[in-house]
């Protein structure tokens, strides 16, 4: 918020914004570049004087000319180092700033954003687009300046040597930027196609590797290979088409040099023979013709780099200016949780054609244990996500202690709620750090162990090489599904939050552990709270009625609506859906198969 003004400059004029932000390195870089070019352009003159000295048979002049030449070259080397260094600092600092901004933005955005933005796309923004913009503001800018400086310096010298030669040799050069631009445009579209196809080939490979068990299981190797080869072949052709254009770059400025050189030979030699121009000037001029090709092609290159940079920046800008639908603008904090109230709540996902939640009314009081059941797609998880403000409310309201949830600070929300989501997500960090995820400072191994003990995983962790310090993820240990699930529960347990939400988190947990967890949840929070009477509020989503049986109230959901609320016994009489679920889950085998009941 505080940077709002700056941010607008960044978004409208990114180049200007960064030049102003880092004026020193940019200025020093440009100055070094200017001096480098200035001195470098003079070096052929050193050669000219040397050759003229040779033709004039004057060896002192020859030595002098060479000393000047060597002196120039040394200074050129020094300043060359200078501009590389300063410009390097400039554009790499810019890239760092952009990366940090992008990441910061990503941490503000909610699930509705992530649903429509694939991870791969965001990664590409962070690396490719930032890099393309860096190339534009760094090397692109540099190339442009370089070209302008060189043009401004070489041309006067050439004209000074011979105006007549100048126009006759350079007449071919103005076509270069035009050709370069055409080539750049052609290669850009072809390269884009190549990259797209490469992405497809990669995705295909990924599928083959990830699905190798299915492929082997159904003996589909040959079919998969055929399909892969078709993609791979398309990619090959796209690569070839890039090569074809790419190979034209060198010949196209080469041809300008050739034509210029031939023209110089044709028109220049008579002048040298007549003696109006010296041989040294002739050789130096030949060198200048060669040097003029670069600035002209550089203009073409720089402008296409700038264009690409602009395209990349507009993608970056789109992200940076994305408004989060769950802005953290509240000013209220919750010290002691009293109630969670959902009132006339109706919710629809972006782009969906049906409501995910319809007219939900539910009040949960502190200390209650609430069960939620319902078939897949009933809206259970959606309800929890709206209630914890992963999504904004549009119709109806969510209130905590009577305060609208928008007005509560996010850090306060995350402080008193621990939500164990349905999808188990562990970070590639140590086991201990994963459990202590919700703390800004590591709470100590004892606290971690206490939590893991509650979910009966302490012993198993000790059996892993590295114990609590073992890394998870692909480069570390692989846990079983059940173990992962228990770790995510431990992650919630350790925080002793006043409201704990378990979204189908007990599905892969055995009966004994489930009991231990429910016992721990129901135990008093007293150990950590001044108020001895504080009881934890628990919301449990499960498909197993046995898990929910002892809840104070059970909410039966179906097709986004609350169908019934009540205790287990009440629902058995009240709700048809609940009764069906119950009878299906209670097909006790001895009774059914008879003989030995």
């Amino acid at each position: 918020m505080s940077n709002l003004l700056q941010d607008t400059t960044l978004q409208t004029q990114p180049f200007r914004y960064y030049f102003k932000k880092h004026p020193r390195v940019f200025f020093l870089g440009s100055l070094s570049l200017f001096i480098t070019n200035f001195l470098d352009v003079l070096t052929p003159l050193g050669v000219k004087y040397a050759i003229d000295a040779v033709t004039a048979k004057d060896s002192t002049k020859l030595i002098l000319a060479i000393l000047i030449y060597v002196g120039l070259m040394t200074c050129v080397a020094l300043f060359r180092f200078g501009w590389r260094y300063f410009f390097g600092r400039f554009h790499h600092t810019v890239a760092e700033d952009l990366r940090n901004r992008i990441f910061g933005k990503l941490t503000e955005l909610g699930p509705s954003f992530y649903q429509r933005s694939p991870v791969g796309q965001l990664m590409s923004l962070m690396t490719n687009d930032v890099n393309t913009f860096r190339m534009a503001i760094g090397p692109g800018m540099l190339t442009l300046l370089d070209a302008l400086f060189l043009l401004g310096m070489i041309l006067p010298i050439m004209i000074w040597i011979s105006w007549d030669w100048t126009w006759k040799t350079l007449i071919f050069i103005p076509f270069i930027p035009f050709i370069m631009k055409k080539l750049e445009a052609a290669i850009h579209t072809r390269y884009r196609k190549e990259q797209d196809l490469l992405a497809e080939v990669s995705a295909n490979t990924q599928e083959i590797v990830a699905g190798v068990r299915v492929i082997k299981g159904f003996a589909q190797e040959q079919n998969q290979l055929d399909a892969f080869n078709r993609k791979s072949r398309e990619y090959e052709l796209a690569c070839n088409s890039v090569v074809q254009v790419d190979a034209l770059f060198h010949p196209s400025f080469q041809s300008a040099i050739i034509l210029g050189g031939v023209s110089l030979l044709w028109f220049g030699t008579p002048d040298v023979m007549k003696g109006t121009v010296t041989l040294g000037s002739f050789v130096a001029f030949h060198d200048y013709v060669r040097r003029m090709v670069w600035p002209f092609s550089a203009i073409g290159l720089a402008s296409s780099m700038m264009e690409q940079g602009r395209a990349s920046f507009s993608r970056i800008k789109d992200l940076l200016s994305t408004e989060t639908d769950i802005p953290d603008l509240g000013d209220q904090t919750i010290e002691k949780f009293e109630s969670l109230e959902l009132k006339n709540l109706t919710f629809r996902y972006n782009g969906a054609i049906e409501d995910a939640l319809t007219d939900i009314n539910l009040t949960i009081h502190a200390g209650e244990t609430i069960g939620i059941v319902g078939p897949v797609g009933a809206g259970k998880t959606t309800l929890l996500q709206v209630a914890t403000r992963m999504y904004p409310t549009s119709q109806g309201s969510v209130r905590i202690n009577g305060v609208n949830i928008d007005r509560i600070r996010r850090d306060s929300l995350s402080h008193f709620i621990s939500y164990v989501t349905q999808d188990v997500f562990l970070f590639s960090d140590t086991i201990a750090e994963n459990v202590a995820l919700g703390f800004s400072d590591f709470p100590g191994l004892e606290a971690v162990e206490e939590a893991t003990n509650t979910v009966n995983i302490d012993q198993e962790i000790r059996g892993i090489p590295g114990s609590y310090g073992a890394y998870l993820g692909e480069r570390g240990v692989n846990l079983s599904g059940g173990q992962k699930q228990r770790l995510t529960i431990a992650r919630a347990m350790i925080r002793r939050s006043q409201l704990v939400i378990l979204d189908d988190s007990l599905s892969a947990v055995d009966g004994r552990t489930e009991k231990a967890i429910t016992r721990a949840l129901k135990s008093n929070l007293a150990a950590n709270s001044e108020d001895g009477s504080t009881k934890r509020t628990v919301i449990l989503v499960s498909h197993r009625l046995a898990t929910l049986k002892h809840a104070d109230r059970i909410v039966v959901m179906n097709r986004g609506r609350i169908e019934a609320i009540g205790t287990h016994e009440e629902l058995l009489t009240m709700s048809q859906t609940y009764r069906e679920m119950n009878s299906m889950q209670n097909m006790a085998p001895p009774a059914q198969t008879g003989s030995h009941a």
Binding site: H92, P111, R213, G217, A247
Partner: protein, 609 residues
């Protein structure tokens, strides 16, 4: 086992991070030796590009010689006719040389792309033939990186590295030859500072390489961090971890900038040094060449030509240095690709085709270890299954259920004993042919990107549209598909993310019905299903079991009570075998499992076994 199988996509970038720090052992020579056969498959293209390199370098030098002659024989002798002739010659030589440059790049580039196609195709074939144990121990992300990024970086050898370096070397050799032709003394004097410069340049480019490697590693770390944080953003927000991870990212990002700056510094020293070297060479050529010209040892034109040759030295030198890095970069990629290629594939011998299996399965004293140093995963299993029977395997995690089933699919080979199908030992059937006759439904079914119907037929041309439709109807998929606008053509996202667990399960059943295997393996899903879906799945299960031998890895007693045979496994041994009734009355392990599931007031599908 299946827990490992469902590899988590958490961290696919981290391993590159680690491996990039490993020093590379492969040399460019090894790459060449290894890729030689691929070149030899396309001799004409290969030979043509080599020829073009030589012609191009020769033409460029001759053009300079002509330029010198213009001065000596034309300008200084006032011979207009010679000048005109020479200019035409100069023009033709230059045009010819440039044309050769172009052809060399195009032909060699195409050749490289073809070789990469071959390589990718061979690698994918090879990876599909690797034993499942390879996939157990290798994270999927790493294999994918081998097949994509590493092949691409190996490809840079062709597309930009090899031919250009070769061309540069040839043109440097041509330059030195041309210089020697003018004056060997002058050449030696001019190039005398080359060795120490080359030494320093080599040291500096090693620094550049180190910096490159460091920054690549850091970039991989940044990618991994972003991928993971984006994936788990919800958790980070829910648990108030955002601020801290922002700080961690900024630290990484700053370190990356520093690594990039090291690279900039190394380059900033390298390039000016190279041009300074060239400057000194030109100065020496001017001074000593000037002296020789004054002496009359060489002509003025020769001196100018010599200068032009000297100056031309810098371009190929530049290029070699630049490409040296590209090549070094490809080395690590190449090495990893080659390591993957050298991985031993499953043996493919066995019957070429199997028409139909009756489905009589027998385990005879079967024992198996995953690795020689590990204890037996299953030991001395004896079991007979009649055609068409349904057999359930129960037991705790690690009791050997999944292992026995994997052996039947020949995902692993038995250590001792034998498994027979229809009386024939398994190793007499080819692996692929055998697997084609055995259908598997996994706990969590893998879904391919594409459509529902593609996921049923798996892109097999043998599975017709009607068959897919019938299979979908048979698996009761229609009810689910009705909610998707496109029905069977509904899009399936990566790993079936847009489908519910139940939908994925039903698609897996439809797969079985479409492929109609003789033997069915069903690894029952543990949980997460609501009662209605459960009912659909039960129905589908009954349907797919009809008419084929079925082996079920069971987690809930309720689903297997009607099986012909229940096999209770305990620590790798068969503990009990019989029908539900028999085993229940036996009051052994099975009875305990039943009591654990039905007793204590818990519902049927409560406890996973």
């Amino acid at each position: 086992m299946s827990a490992q199988a469902s590899a988590q996509p958490v961290n696919e970038f981290h391993d590159t991070d680690r491996e990039d720090k490993v020093r590379v052992g492969t040399s460019i020579r090894e790459i060449l030796v290894r890729l030689w056969p691929y070149f030899m498959r396309r001799k004409v293209q290969f030979g043509f590009s080599i020829l073009a390199v030589f012609l191009g370098a020769g033409a460029a030098r001759l053009a300079v010689v002509v330029f010198g002659l213009v001065i000596d024989r034309g300008v200084l002798k006032n011979d207009h006719g010679f000048v005109a002739m020479a200019i035409i010659g100069y023009f033709l030589l230059q045009v010819g040389g440039t044309l050769m440059d172009y052809l060399q790049m195009v032909v060699f580039g195409r050749l490289g792309n073809r070789i990469l196609f071959d390589l990718r195709s061979e690698l994918v074939r090879h990876v599909q033939d690797l034993p499942i144990s390879y996939f157990d121990k290798t994270p999927s992300g790493r294999i994918v990186t081998r097949l994509t990024n590493d092949v691409v970086s190996l490809g840079e050898v062709f597309t930009q590295g090899l031919i250009m370096v070769f061309a540069a070397l040839v043109s440097m050799a041509a330059i030195v030859t041309a210089m020697f032709a003018i004056s060997w003394k002058l050449t030696i004097a001019t190039l005398i500072i080359a060795p120490p410069i080359i030494y320093i340049v080599k040291r500096l480019s090693d620094r550049v390489l180190d910096a490159l490697r460091a920054s690549k590693g850091k970039l991989a770390a940044i990618n991994a961090f972003v991928a993971e944080n984006v994936g788990g953003m919800r958790i980070l927000q829910l648990y108030g971890r955002v601020g801290r991870n922002n700080a961690r990212f900024q630290k990484l990002s700053g370190e990356y900038r520093q690594d990039m700056m090291n690279q900039v510094m190394a380059y900033a020293l390298l390039w000016p040094l190279v041009s300074l070297f060239n400057g000194f060479s030109v100065a020496v050529a001017l001074y000593y060449g000037g002296r020789l010209t004054l002496d009359g040892t060489i002509t003025t034109g020769a001196m100018v030509a010599f200068l032009l040759h000297t100056r031309a030295f810098i371009d190929p030198l530049h290029l070699i240095l630049e490409k040296y890095q590209v090549l070094q970069n490809s080395l690590s990629g190449a090495e990893r690709v080659f390591t993957l290629q050298d991985e031993k594939a499953e043996s493919q011998e066995g019957l070429d085709s199997i028409d139909r299996l009756a489905g009589a399965i027998e385990f005879k004293n079967v024992s198996f270890k995953y690795r020689p140093e590990l204890p037996f995963a299953i030991e001395n299993i004896n079991l007979k299954i009649e055609p068409g029977q349904s057999v359930a395997f129960v037991g705790r995690t690690g009791s050997g259920k999944s292992t026995s089933i994997a052996l039947l699919q020949r995902l692993y080979d038995v250590t001792e004993g034998a498994i027979t199908i229809d009386g024939k030992p398994l190793d007499q059937y080819g692996r692929k042919q055998l697997r084609a006759r055995i259908g598997v439904v996994q706990q969590d079914t893998f879904m391919f990107r594409g459509t529902v119907s593609q996921n049923i037929g798996l892109g097999d041309p043998a599975i017709s549209k009607e068959r897919t439709l019938r299979a979908a109807a048979g698996a009761r998929l229609s009810e689910f598909l009705r909610s998707h606008a496109n029905g069977l053509e509904a899009k399936v996202e990566e790993r079936g993310a847009n489908l519910s667990f139940g939908e994925r399960q039903l698609i897996a059943f439809a797969r079985i019905l479409a492929f109609n295997p003789d033997i069915l393996i069903l690894d029952e899903a543990t949980a997460n299903i609501d009662s209605h879906t459960e009912q659909l799945i039960q129905e589908a299960t009954r349907k797919v079991r009809q008419g084929r031998t079925s082996l079920i890895i069971a987690h809930r007693i309720s689903t297997i009570m009607d099986c012909d045979k229940i096999v209770v496994l305990d620590r790798g041994h068969v503990a009990e075998v019989g029908t539900h009734q028999e085993l229940y009355n036996l009051r052994g392990i099975y009875r305990k499992l039943c009591d654990a599931q039905f007793g204590e007031g818990k519902s049927v599908d409560e406890t996973p076994i």
